[in-house]
């Protein structure tokens, strides 16, 4: 049994509507601190909308969400001090900056001491080679851009790292390299990682605890292994869940 204050992320009936369309419908989650948590769903299932509410980018229409006890609606700045977000497209946003400039910008915004040193430390941590750090991000490969984004998200030592489709667009070697990096960071930086993906293999490989979302509603929450002992059975069970739309109760939840 985990006490209330031990949850890194805690949502209660979290809901978001866009006009009459309900994108996220009463999602209730309890994610303990220090976990690498998987959030699985098809495209358009509500994964990104949930992350955007948890990271203060989108106000919830109903329900509540807390990160380390801070309400996302009432204390957005306190929440932002605790989080880092890696989205699938933001790496393209500043393609005319260098990695050093990009991370330096956020290091100074977070008022980190010796921002230059911190930038180099983070870029070392995410494995971006020094010879590329002064070049424009627009000239990087997709994998390098994603490393820069992860570096930006790690700036200031976040307690919760949100990864929204972090390996989208990467080829298999780059994807496996990214998985290794994420596992290494989760162990080394002691952050709670909320990994959102539609890639069953990715979630199965990296996460022990997962939630599955379908059409805005959670259809499964529990250990990944309960959905299947191997990837094949895991995917089979997952497809059944997503097609039927009915909730599946884990033996441990």
């Amino acid at each position: 049994m985990i006490a209330d204050g031990e949850y890194a992320i805690e949502t209660t009936h979290l809901t978001r509507r866009f006009g009459s369309f309900v994108a996220v419908d009463g999602v209730t989650l309890r994610i303990p601190k220090g976990h690498l948590y998987g959030f699985l769903g098809l495209n358009g299932a509500g994964k990104t909308t949930t992350i955007r509410m948890l990271t203060t980018l989108l106000p919830p229409s109903a329900g509540s969400a807390k990160l380390w006890g801070h309400d996302v609606k009432e204390e957005p700045l306190a929440v932002r001090r605790l989080i880092g977000l890696v989205s699938d497209e933001t790496s393209e946003s500043q393609s005319t900056w260098t990695a050093r400039e990009y991370l330096g910008y956020f290091a100074r915004l977070r008022e980190l001491p010796k921002p230059g040193n911190e930038v180099e430390r983070i870029l070392d941590a995410v494995g971006l080679e020094p010879r590329f750090r002064g070049k424009l991000i627009g000239s990087y490969s997709t994998g390098m851009k994603r490393r820069v984004e992860i570096g930006r998200a790690l700036m200031g030592g976040p307690k919760v790292l949100f990864l929204d489709e972090p390996t989208r667009g990467l080829d298999l070697p780059a994807k496996r390299e990214m998985w290794r990096l994420l596992q290494d960071l989760a162990a080394r930086e002691q952050v709670t990682t909320f990994l959102s993906s539609h890639d069953a293999q990715e979630i199965r490989t990296l996460c022990t605890e997962i939630s599955v979302i379908n059409r805005g509603r959670l259809v499964y929450t529990g250990p990944a292994r309960d959905l299947g002992a191997d990837l094949d059975s895991f995917e089979q069970r997952l497809v059944e869940l997503l097609v039927s739309g009915s909730a599946f109760q884990s033996s441990e939840s």
Binding site: L58, P59, R80, S87, Q94, F106, L109
Partner: protein, 480 residues
């Protein structure tokens, strides 16, 4: 935090792919216009572009700068960091205002060259206040335009900003035209008050070409304050209260309030700003009025370089219209040609010349040429019906041209180029058989310019662009 955000965003703005290059190109083009305008009336030509049109371009610029972080999703990185949206918004406006101030400063080298040669005319003095007013209004309105568009492209806010720019710019000549024709207070005339540039012009009490300005300015100043302040307040309210990071969160009621606010920004100046154009406009500079300045083909006088033949297209009010303008503040030797309506079959028996330069022009005829009474004469064959008109009304086919060397010294120019100094010429002559001498009189003009103005202005105009190109090159080498 605002200070940090301001510094970071200012640096970030100049990291844009073509930021330094673009700034260099714009400033170089402006410098080119400034240099070219030394060959004509500088304040009217270059001034209207640099001090009026380009500042309006800060409308699409501000719209693009405010909208782009949403368009490229940078806000997702930004607002998951501990940054207050209000602080970032204030910093962003300060950045655009800084760019506007930088633009104003970039005009100073050209202004310095001008002021070195010419005393500050009223029009330029007004421009120097008009421009910051237009810049601030443009930033406020551009910010509102930028805030209103949430999307994945800056095309919509930038295009809307361009549309507003064109409308505001076009309303200035429309207002001048309407006022000049006495229609400033009509419905269409008042519609021109929609443009902050027109409002500011009326408030500052000057015109570009029209002869009258409004009697009062209090309501005009109030309208300016409402438009500028209202646009900024609406933009801030929309950004902070009606929108999320990338979504509209306004209620229906708030949406209507926003629409009403935007409508008010258009309606208030048109309905309330002063529009009784009953006061004579002050003179924009000390340029003398010369009737029929650009008239051609009806004159009897021309100026040429010493010994040069008569101009092919002769003659108009401006004596040296088709030649290089003479230099101000120094002596220039020219030949004054007088197309006498005397047939070459008749001898000239008497000649005298009176030259009366005005507005700082001194003209002295060569005493040696007039020493014998009759100046050097040249016989000239005219084409059909273009020769001088003889006393009997027919056009001469062969006539005498008197060539009198003169020394001109135009002083105290009122512009760096295109100074037309008035010159009244009276040539009295008599030919064999004439009972009485006749006199040719004309109020003409001599075109003059500051001789070194072109080179000095070109140098001043290329100073900052070269710095921008240097910065672009350094960044390209450092980041390639």
């Amino acid at each position: 935090m605002i200070g940090t955000l301001y510094r970071e965003e200012l640096h970030a703005t100049m990291r844009g792919q073509f930021a330094w290059l673009g700034a260099g190109v714009v400033l170089l083009a402006l410098g080119g216009v400034a240099a070219a305008a030394t060959q004509d009336t500088w304040v009217d030509g270059y001034g209207i572009i640099a001090y009026f049109l380009v500042p309006l371009a800060f409308i699409p610029l501000a719209a693009g700068v405010v909208a782009s972080p949403r368009a490229n999703r940078f806000v997702e990185s930004l607002f998951t960091a501990p940054v207050e949206r209000g602080h970032w918004f204030a910093a962003k406006i300060l950045v655009v205002l800084t760019l506007a101030a930088a633009y104003y400063v970039a005009l100073l080298p050209m202004l310095a060259v001008y002021l070195h040669h010419v005393a500050m005319p009223l029009l330029l003095r007004k421009f120097l206040v008009w421009t910051p007013g237009i810049l601030i209004a443009s930033v406020a309105i551009g910010t509102l335009v930028g805030v209103l568009f949430i999307g994945r492209s800056i095309a919509a806010p930038a295009a809307t900003g361009m549309g507003v720019l064109l409308a505001y710019a076009a309303l200035v000549p429309l207002q001048e035209l309407m006022v000049a024709r006495g229609n400033g207070a009509t419905r269409i005339g008042r519609l021109a008050l929609l443009s902050p540039a027109v409002l500011l012009k009326n408030a500052l009490g000057f015109t570009l070409v029209a002869g009258t300005i409004p009697t009062a300015t209090a309501l005009t100043w109030t309208s300016v304050a409402i438009v500028v302040g209202g646009a900024l307040v609406l933009a801030a309210w929309t950004f902070l209260r009606l929108q999320g990071v990338e979504t509209w969160e306004a209620t229906r009621r708030q949406g209507w309030a926003l629409a009403a606010g935007i409508a008010a920004l258009s309606v208030v100046p048109v309905a309330f700003a002063d529009h009784d154009y009953d006061v004579a406009a002050p003179r924009v500079n000390t340029a003398p009025a010369i009737p029929a300045l650009f008239a051609r083909g009806n004159g009897s006088f021309a100026l040429t370089d010493a010994g040069a033949p008569m101009p092919v297209r002769c003659c108009g009010t401006i004596l040296n219209r088709d030649a290089t303008p003479i230099a101000t503040d120094r002596d220039t030797q020219q030949d004054l040609l007088i197309l006498l309506p005397v047939d070459t079959s008749r001898a000239l028996t008497q000649f005298s010349l009176r030259l009366d330069g005005q507005s700082g022009l001194s003209v002295v005829a060569d005493a040696r040429a007039l020493f014998s009474g009759i100046p050097p004469l040249e016989a000239h064959d005219y084409d059909n019906d273009v020769g001088p008109v003889a006393p009997d009304g027919r056009h001469l086919r062969n006539g005498w041209i008197a060539r009198v060397p003169v020394t001109l010294h135009p002083a105290g120019p009122w512009d760096i180029g295109g100074n037309r100094y008035p010159l009244t010429i009276a040539a009295t002559y008599a030919a064999a058989g004439d009972a009485m001498p006749r006199t040719l009189t004309a109020r003409t003009a001599v075109n003059a310019q500051v001789a070194s103005g072109l080179y000095e202005m070109a140098a001043a105009g290329s100073l900052l662009p070269l710095c921008c190109f240097g910065a672009a090159l350094v960044r390209w080498r450092r980041t390639r």
